[in-house]
């Protein structure tokens, strides 16, 4: 190992990465010193995760250089990354539930070690490590019996059990209470003082200003600035995170919003998720935007209303009448639609044809009492929708898996447009969709609203949600933190509410 000319441990320069036609990172630089906590900031989709995944070996860069301790590296998988001393604690937990804590912490070593388990040593080492972190966790316990906070700690223990040179934490504190956060910070400070370089991704600006030494901000796949934390403040960082122009991506529509709400939600609280005390209403013809950071409970709220998650308390009122949606069957019966953000897993039937996908919600209107489908009606309906939504396909019998993302999304939408929904929830309407299809989807949303449907759109894409909504509610930690009317729309305001900050007062 030779000494580098400067005092950086890690230098990522000119990193670019595209997925298909979507360019995620453009010429990004990130430089981290030994023994510093380096905050990586940016909105959802700014490219933070992709950058980290390139560092750790999950993805491979298209262009640019990664230099670790003066030597160029290009890990082809996470194992190679780990060997180089790069460890990542991911947002989604990557633990094996049915194994013990100790096995999880040393999982990467188990495969490489001798054939027989050294249980005593394994548990002893793991326990020592956990104790040193200051959290009370039994190394012999099964991971599935741990709380979510404990799991996160195990995840961190796993990452530092190695000879770690660079430790990346992606939103590690979303599940922690303040006390745990303090403990975590102490661990991080200790590691920093031992010379570990820590890259810390978080949306909590307060945290960043408490622990970080340096900050780098990404926006739309470009790094917009990097500086010591002492040289900036919250407003400065927020400014770097936003500051785009709204493009004329968003079609103008003639808005006719009714006066009486078509759908109201009062004090809705979930049984199994963080969603609590959610209240809102949507009027016929209105497009209501729900913004917030990933993990703030937006999708969970929609699923709760749709009956896919269990409710603890709260009231739903559709057209003035109280309704109960204990299952998606109930919700669909009340003509409430839900287009899932997870298109492939929850939205479409990939191996089935477009026709079969679309008609799955509308059999009532195209079949006889005995359940026999009137195929003529079905084709008429499906072909009509294909034409109307401009789904690009030679015919209705093409399997959905062969369509592009944008066209798959249109199929998912068509499923709910084929029945006359009264309220429709659309979660991330254009994720992974190219620009052309985006505009078509926006037009579609407008058209649906025009028919007097109450449309609720959940989106992480700020320009999008400002471009299409009549009103925006912002979620923060499981409930609505604030509401923005059209004249208040700005990325800064959305971001402030998203991270639990009040709006800035202008005179």
């Amino acid at each position: 190992m030779k000494n580098s000319a400067n005092d950086y441990r890690l230098e990522m320069t000119g990193i670019s990465k595209s997925f298909g036609v979507v360019s995620v990172l453009k010429n990004v630089n990130l430089k981290v010193k030994p023994g510093e906590i380096h905050a990586l900031l940016g909105e959802n989709g700014a490219g933070k995760s992709t950058l980290i995944k390139i560092l750790s070996g999950v993805h491979q860069k298209d262009a640019g250089k990664v230099i670790l301790n003066g030597e160029e590296i290009a890990p082809k998988n996470t194992h190679e990354g780990q060997v180089l001393g790069i460890n990542v604690v991911y947002q989604e937990l990557s633990l094996v539930n049915d194994l013990s804590v100790a096995e999880n912490i040393y999982l990467h070593k188990l495969g490489a070690s001798k054939s027989w388990m050294n249980w005593k040593g394994l548990i002893h080492d793991a326990q020592e490590l956990l104790d040193s972190l200051g959290f009370k966790i039994d190394a012999a316990a099964k991971v599935k019996d741990l709380s979510i906070v404990q799991k996160q700690v195990v995840e961190i223990a796993k990452a530092i059990s190695e000879d770690t040179k660079i430790l990346v934490l992606d939103e590690p504190t979303t599940v922690f209470d303040p006390n745990d956060v303090k403990k975590l910070f102490q661990i991080l400070f200790k590691l920093r003082d031992q010379g570990v370089s820590i890259i810390y991704i978080s949306h909590h600006l307060d945290e960043i200003f408490k622990i970080a030494d340096t900050v780098t901000v990404l926006r739309d796949g470009v790094d917009t600035g990097s500086m010591p934390i002492s040289e900036t403040d919250k407003d400065g960082v927020i400014h770097l995170m936003i500051g785009r122009e709204l493009k004329d991506l968003y079609p103008v529509r003639d808005i006719k919003i009714g006066t009486v709400p078509i759908f109201q939600v009062k004090n809705l609280t979930a049984k199994n998720t963080m969603v609590h005390d959610v209240s809102f209403e949507v009027k016929p013809g209105e497009v209501l935007g729900i913004a917030g950071l990933g993990g703030s409970g937006r999708t969970e709220t929609a699923k709760l209303i749709f009956g896919a998650d269990k409710k603890k308390s709260g009231t739903l009122i559709l057209e003035g009448k109280e309704i109960k949606t204990n299952s998606p069957v109930d919700a669909a019966g009340y003509q409430i639609g839900f287009v899932s953000e997870d298109r492939k897993e929850e939205g479409v039937f990939l191996p089935l044809s477009i026709r079969r996908n679309i008609s799955v919600t509308s059999f009532k209107s195209i079949s006889s009492k005995l359940g026999f489908i009137n195929v003529d009606n079905e084709y008429k309906k499906v072909l009509g929708l294909i034409e109307k939504l401009n789904i690009k396909t030679p015919n209705s019998e093409v399997n959905v898996k062969n369509l592009s993302g944008g066209n798959q999304q249109k199929v998912a939408l068509a499923k709910w447009l084929s029945i006359d929904s009264k309220v429709i929830f659309i979660d991330e309407p254009t994720r992974g969709v190219d620009v052309g299809a985006k505009i078509e989807i926006y037009n579609l949303i407008n058209e649906v609203a025009k028919k007097g449907v109450g449309v609720v759109v959940i989106s992480s894409d700020m320009p999008e949600i400002m471009g299409i909504s009549d009103r925006i509610l912002v979620m923060h930690e499981g409930t609505f933190y604030g509401e923005l009317t059209k004249d208040q729309f700005s990325e800064e305001n959305i971001l402030r509410y998203s991270i639990g900050e009040p709006l800035k007062q202008y005179n």
Binding site: P328, V329, S340, F349, L350, V360, I373, E397
Partner: protein, 322 residues
């Protein structure tokens, strides 16, 4: 269908694609030609009629297996159910009038299938486990009720069923006609009936189905119940052929049924499979047995050949998905 048959067959690549797509029918035809060349007895009406009689029972439970597999499940209990329901039918037909005995047997089959359905759909038990339990329960019960020995038909009704099961109409064995009717009904149901379309949707993506407002549990429950009712139908047929119900009937039939469905191109993950292809799968398995019998191959090597054919058929299907 974007291409007409003629267009498809106009290039070598097209022909290959065509063969891969309709591989079960293709294998079936090859086997028929091979059988006819190799044995003079094969194309006699006696042999063909025997072949159809032999496959009808397994064929009917294969259809039940198909609709269960379409939802992504599996029903291991059908073989034992055939034994239990054959014994049940033999007892009932000796007591009650024939139509009542038939009806009762089918209702009992539906009820037994409902137990699996309930465990899978509402208790979230793994289909493999729930139906494995039902499999041993049904086999045990069939021995208990029959006291270990076959129950012979003794009444006029029993005699009528026996005659029906062993005779033919227009040259086609009556029980094969029953089987074909069930295949046709299932084809129609899977294509034109909401029930059929929804079970395919569930097998293709259960979560998306749930979020589309489909009563997933109800349909999962029903497919096992229907599989039970079809096992009852198969039981009545096989009992009637031999004029008795025996607790040893249907041994390992669940495996043949699964094999037939898989040879027919269905995916064990659910969402993919058709009745006509399952029919082909049943006939292919039957043909292999038949031709090996005609060639005087002992039964153990027969099993080896059967297994090899299953592997070959499934490997061929992998081309299709590419």
């Amino acid at each position: 269908m974007t291409l007409t048959l003629k267009q498809q067959l106009s290039s070598p690549a097209g022909i290959l694609k065509f063969l891969v797509k309709y591989n079960t029918i293709f294998i079936f035809i090859l086997l028929v030609i091979f059988s006819a060349l190799i044995s003079d007895v094969f194309f006699t009406s006696v042999n063909l009629s025997n072949l159809l009689k032999q496959v009808s029972g397994i064929g009917i439970i294969s259809i039940g297996m198909l609709i269960v597999i379409l939802t992504g499940g599996i029903d291991l209990s059908v073989g034992s159910m055939v034994a239990l329901l054959a014994v049940t039918f033999a007892i009932l037909v000796n007591i009650f009038a024939l139509p009542l005995a038939i009806l009762m047997t089918i209702v009992i089959g539906f009820g037994l299938g409902s137990i699996s359905g309930y465990l899978v759909a509402y208790q979230k038990m793994a289909p493999f486990v729930a139906t494995l339990a039902l499999m041993t329960i049904a086999r045990g019960m069939s021995f208990i009720y029959s006291k270990g020995s076959p129950v012979t038909f003794t009444t006029v009704g029993g005699q009528f069923m026996s005659d029906f099961a062993n005779n033919s109409t227009l040259g086609i064995p009556n029980i094969a006609i029953v089987f074909f009717i069930i295949v046709i009904c299932t084809m129609v149901m899977l294509r034109y009936n909401v029930f059929g379309r929804l079970i395919i949707a569930i097998g293709s993506n259960e979560e998306a189905s749930r979020l589309s407002g489909i009563k997933v549990n109800k349909y999962k429950f029903l497919v096992y119940a229907i599989s039970g009712a079809l096992a009852a139908t198969a039981a009545i047929i096989v009992a009637s052929r031999t004029n008795l119900g025996s607790p040893n009937m249907g041994m390992a039939w669940e495996l043949d049924a699964i094999a037939a469905v898989v040879i027919g191109g269905a995916s064990l993950n659910g969402g993919k499979g058709t009745a006509i292809n399952t029919l082909m799968g049943v006939l292919i398995l039957g043909l292999i047995g038949n031709i090996l019998n005609l060639l005087n191959v002992p039964s153990y090597p027969q099993q080896v050949v059967k297994g090899a054919i299953i592997i070959f058929a499934v490997l061929l299907q992998r081309f299709e998905s590419k």
